[in-house]
Symmetry: C2
Subunit: 301 residues, 2 copies
Amino acid sequence: MSSDQWQLQSYMKERIQLIDLALDRYLPGAETLPTVLHDAMRYSVFAGGKRIRPILMLAACEAVGGEVKNVMPAACAIEMIHSYSLVHDDLPAMDDDDLRRGNATNHKVYGEATAILAGDGLLTEAFILLSNPDTWGDAPADKYCEVLHILAKSAGSRGMVGGQVVDMEAEAKPVDLPTLEYIHTHKTGALILAAIEIGALLGGASEQQHRALCRYGEAAGLAFQVADDILDIVADPSQLGKDIGSDQQRGKATYPALLGLAGARQRASELRELAFSSLDIFGDSARPLREIASYIVNRSC
Amino acid sequence: MSSDQWQLQSYMKERIQLIDLALDRYLPGAETLPTVLHDAMRYSVFAGGKRIRPILMLAACEAVGGEVKNVMPAACAIEMIHSYSLVHDDLPAMDDDDLRRGNATNHKVYGEATAILAGDGLLTEAFILLSNPDTWGDAPADKYCEVLHILAKSAGSRGMVGGQVVDMEAEAKPVDLPTLEYIHTHKTGALILAAIEIGALLGGASEQQHRALCRYGEAAGLAFQVADDILDIVADPSQLGKDIGSDQQRGKATYPALLGLAGARQRASELRELAFSSLDIFGDSARPLREIASYIVNRSC
């Protein structure tokens, strides 16, 4: 393992710890009534997520010289929304998954009704948190309202939820590359781009910095999904935390299915280069963003 | 029919038309991609709802001398959240209802997965709308952020979603009056109280007016649920739009089951009197609120 990789691993580990501490503080305690609901909400938030979205948000904020503490509530809110989306995606009526990151999915532990409501609760909690002046620090109300607006749009029916609908419609029928890119820029990409945009906004990015970071966010978001599709085929099951080839079995359109494995890897590395070149205007402050883009792509190569 | 009743009916009809027009404007159009999702979202919003929450919000705003146009976006947001809650409550994993207001429920028309996502989309859309400066009119960002915070808290895991969890837990087991009141003050009452509070806030209520309106909101919210429980037993099925006695069949705790039919009616009229007396400090501007409290209780007597 190179020294660079080691540095990224310890950076990510430290960030995950910080984010987990903040999530624990911002989420209603497990003793809050009704306890089964808050237990279910916490179960999925603390089920071993890699915290990619909040880490990207913190890194974008730091790339433009902002402070981590100002962006932490938004970082936690985006992770709550990501967690809710996984709980609902895993439901029997959707992907019907029993395992997520090697653990039983929410509805397998708490039942379907509580899982639906735990997802609803997590989504709503993100907006409770972002609209609470106590969590804003020095930022004015209109800035946090803008953050909330970016996040809600990226998560809603013209963003992540819309991507999930098209993904379901595309199951077991031929899908072309533009449809596949629509699915991924919405289902996964929208929230990743929002993470970067919010980090830039709360970090005080100039217009030029904002545009550059958005280009990075688009490329990294798509790279993440291409890598995920590749991992579904080639990964070690114990690493993946779910069954290998589950996308294929479900007849899901994937990049390797459309471009071949070599073509998908080629696409992932093109996206990594695009992410890199977007960061040309930044110096060392963008090093974490560069290394995360490499990490996203390398884990599938 | 008395002249008062006629007036209330025409007032409600005019308000419903105004609210429906605004909802149509604020919701993504049915042609927005993915169309099936936006179609499903609109199906449940325009399925003949009585618009009680937005009407109460507008009426609370007017009671303190505020203008309807300033509160309309929040009125639409609360109706989107109410609609999402019905879509999720009707799901097979929850109440498993085929009919809602005489129409097929969302999942019967669009399938379970799309219904879950349509609910998610509606909940998120409420926050997209409330965080959009274009919809705020003259109100400053921190006022709309406060509105959003009140609404999110009332809808979340310590409000409406929490009430639904306890309601489900209470099925087919003996429930005492405190538990029943917990269920209703959370499942239905929280959103009704939020409607009143937001109307008061955006209308520019004084502290005294705000307290008085919150007392009204608590009483009216509970009265609404007691009346609903009574209607489940005594209503004409064609009026109810669902099967008579469905709460009883499901073993749900209700006020008539705990207090008897006469006792439940007594409780409803006590709550109406409490709602009335809370409005003593207001003159004619609170007439709609008084008449709505009467309407809520009278429809069950």
